[in-house]
Symmetry: C2
């Protein structure tokens, strides 16, 4: 295990699919796996720590990094910038660590162009109705927000599907009916990907 190069595992999922729970279980189980830490221009919240939750940078710093091609993907969310650092990922891979990147389908598409050798996993809800039920159960979103998220989820599925016709974006696609099952399977994917 010591001399191996780490791999990048990109996990995409619609909101409400259970990706956070999955990531926590994976990270707890596998000490060789670390989660990618994003750069952001937004202000840290009181409980957030620079270099743990995010790397907090100024817009000027962010744009400078972007210009140097430092981001595997970046996004502007209502004027706040978020980016995935290529250096962070590659440095940890060289150290033999596997890196876990949780990201939406749009982001995964961008990363795929720059990191075609990464392993792409997509977690689906069992059905549109089940996704709605899960979002409603959380009780944290308004009706309008739930409708918006469902629409985004459908759109993501469609985009993912479109990409199956040519080269496939996703190496593994898992319908998450039971988070324990999904976790076991992703754990095996991570170890199986080190077989070659």
């Amino acid at each position: 295990m010591s001399n191996r190069t780490g791999k990048l595992f990109v996990i995409s999922a619609s909101s409400g699919t259970g990706k956070t729970t999955l990531a926590q279980a994976l990270l707890q189980n596998d000490k060789n796996l670390i989660q990618s830490i994003s750069y952001t221009t937004r202000q840290p919240r009181p409980n957030e720590i620079n270099g743990k939750d995010y790397f907090f940078v100024t817009k000027q710093q962010f744009f400078g990094m972007r210009e140097k091609g430092e981001f595997l993907e970046w996004a502007n969310v209502f004027g706040r910038y978020y980016g995935t650092s290529r250096t962070f990922v590659e440095m940890h891979q060289k150290l033999g660590k596997d890196v876990l990147l949780l990201i939406d389908v749009q982001g995964a598409k961008k990363v795929k162009k720059l990191m075609p050798g990464a392993i792409y996993i997509f977690l689906s809800p069992p059905s549109k109705e089940e996704l709605r039920r899960r979002l409603e159960k959380r009780g944290t979103e308004s009706k309008a927000e739930i409708a918006r998220r469902l629409k985004v989820a459908q759109q993501e599925l469609r985009e993912l599907n479109a990409m199956y016709d040519g080269r496939y974006l996703c190496d593994y696609r898992i319908v998450n009916r039971d988070i324990r099952k999904a976790t076991e399977i992703v754990k095996t994917i991570i170890s199986a990907e080190h077989l070659s």
Copy 2:
């Protein structure tokens, strides 16, 4: 393990994707897993054994079974009939066996209607180009046949994708770049599906 009910695992894949190799590895590894034996009206080949390779029946017998709703799916291939027996699957499940059914996407769609609780796994080739390479390497098919199989494979992917928009046909979708990896992952799927 002794008192559990077995599950039905339906594995679909385009030709050239490696499903036969995968099935052999799974069956060798897991003594609780048996492959579904189909009924057919075609003549047995010299090396084929009734009840092992197929259940060989007359057309009259086949049509009688079909009328009683005995087939989870059936197909007419140039006048020869093939069918998957519901009794075979359910009997072995009751005995605690997991049943493996290798079938094309069309067949899987039919089985899904009657057996919504089964676990559906789809194996994809890494890309259209790679599938073509694999089919050509086998050297058993003519150019026209390879072109036909590629067309069918694309069509199957499209159908599968269309079904992702609503309720999903597939619980697991795996791009088979390396048969050892795919085997490890399907082994885990089979054991993980017994968690609940």
